[in-house]
Amino acid sequence: MTAAPDAAPGAVLPAPRRRPLVGLARAWRRLPPTAKVGAAILLFWVVVVLTIQLWPLADPLKMVGRRLQEPSAEFWLGTDALGRDVFARTLHGAVWSIPIAFVVVACAVAIGSALGAVAGFFGGWWDSIIMRLVDVTVSFPPILLAMAVAAMLGPGLLNASIAMIIVWWPIYARLMRAQVLEVREREHVEAAVAGGAPSGRILVVHVLPLCWTPTLINATMDFGQVVLLAASLSFIGLGATPPSPEWGSMISEGATRFYNWWIAFGPGMAILSVVLASSFLGDGLRDLFDRRSA
């Protein structure tokens, strides 16, 4: 035995010092142009959400002009059936859609990753129970499960969000489980086990930090899909309820006023921009960090 007898159990070599900002800047330069466009669009919507009070916009809930006016210099996207400014409502819609999608993805990642990591790392009964739960959840067509849960809980954005988290967590459980299963077999983990580190510590310190790449790429791509599903639920009448300027419910108002196409035009373009942006950015990130699955 040549190892120092006083080495702490599970001790590892000090990691090379990381400089995250430099790495980030380098990654940004290597992103393909489409991914940069996607990032810019997403950033635009985040800025809109954060600064919506500062914009010189009409009140999205008040009547500001004649009803059902076509787009004009005064009302860029026209007015709806209650004389509200559609352009202002479209921008205000981001305040609903963007944070909700963020929370739904974050919760689905947190729940799914935690369960997937436990299933992959501890195996045995944990694995069986969690993965059977995943199997049953993904046996439902997503929109039908979301509709059933949202209808059971009653309409409203909070309930729609819960429904979407229930739909989305299994994806992250599967992703994380597969990653953990792979990383678990690496040599540094074996070394930590030999060093006598407790299994919880091995999972958190030695395994998990190496498992996030596919999850983060997937989460970026799913962001737009969550916006889309949230809008779909609102369109059906299970998400946001009328006066609020949510994109899906604005389109459903537009659907009842068929000839006034402009009511639905803005929110539809907004949804499209978010979905495209997040799939551009997700694609770019995947090319950069995860060449295998590209």
Binding site: V136, L144, A148, A151, G237
Partner: protein, 338 residues
Amino acid sequence: MLAYIARRLIAIPFLLLGVASVSFLLSQMTKGDPLAALVPERMMDNPEIVAAVKAQWGLDQPLPVRYGIYISNLLQGDLGTSFATRRPVAVDIAERLPATLELVFAAMIIGTIMGVGLGLLSARFRGSVFDGLARIFALIGSSLPIFWSGLILLYLLSVRVALVPGTGRLPPRVEPPPDVTGFYTVDALLAGDLDLFAQALAHLALPALVLGWAVSGVITRLVRSSLIEGLSQDYARTARAKGAPERVVLINHALRNALIPLLTILGFTFAYLITGAVLTEAIFAWPGIGSYAVRGAASLDYPAIGGVTIVGSIAFLLANLLTDIAYAWANPRIKVGG
């Protein structure tokens, strides 16, 4: 491979039981009194009627017994009674299913033709302007909110230029053809009524195109990438060395290998199709099970949504199973877990 398929087949009943159990739990957690939906308001005072209804639906039983009743009803094809239509959900769904299937089949055909065609051209002229346009077209197709694109196209093509008729499966007050398959287009042909066939086809065209476009996005992407991979393989080089023109290399060599991943996306696109069908039906007033579920969701008609959910899940599981089998069968190199 047989062992793999057998294992998948054995798993299906358990997954269905899981699906049914989740549906049951959801129906039990529903807010609102199920009695209120079953008993007309003026009969609520009558304790005998209330007791009789409770006994009939097992509402006076504890939860495990109700679960047993629910599962045994399901096994007999009883999905409960819709609060809104007051008819058995299974009857409602059976009546509306052909409309959905007709839409989904038409969309699948359009989506596959569009997707394979664009994918082929895009791989053949890789890096050209056409390639870029085809990829953007595909990406937009799979990113568009379908309830919005349907609405806008309906406005443009039906209101602005009267190219397609409005919503529904047939013009108002036109009798549907005698029921054989439930597909109006096929039934009209079988009845020899070409005029009716044209009308049914015209009504089907736009919703199927909207849904097909959404599906074609996924297919284009996949066909393009697997063709490009195929074109760089040794067999493609060999074919070129023997003097085969690029067109032949693409069709006879690369495309043949791209068919394997194409099989798998049949299952993959199914989720898109169901989601898309639900929303497309809502926009086009298409009397299928999707619009039934949407109406059920809006009126909190739980048995209706629950029934569509179970039927949709069965279809989803079967589609995935068929995909796996097709994949294992088409690609003997892949030994799926023994």
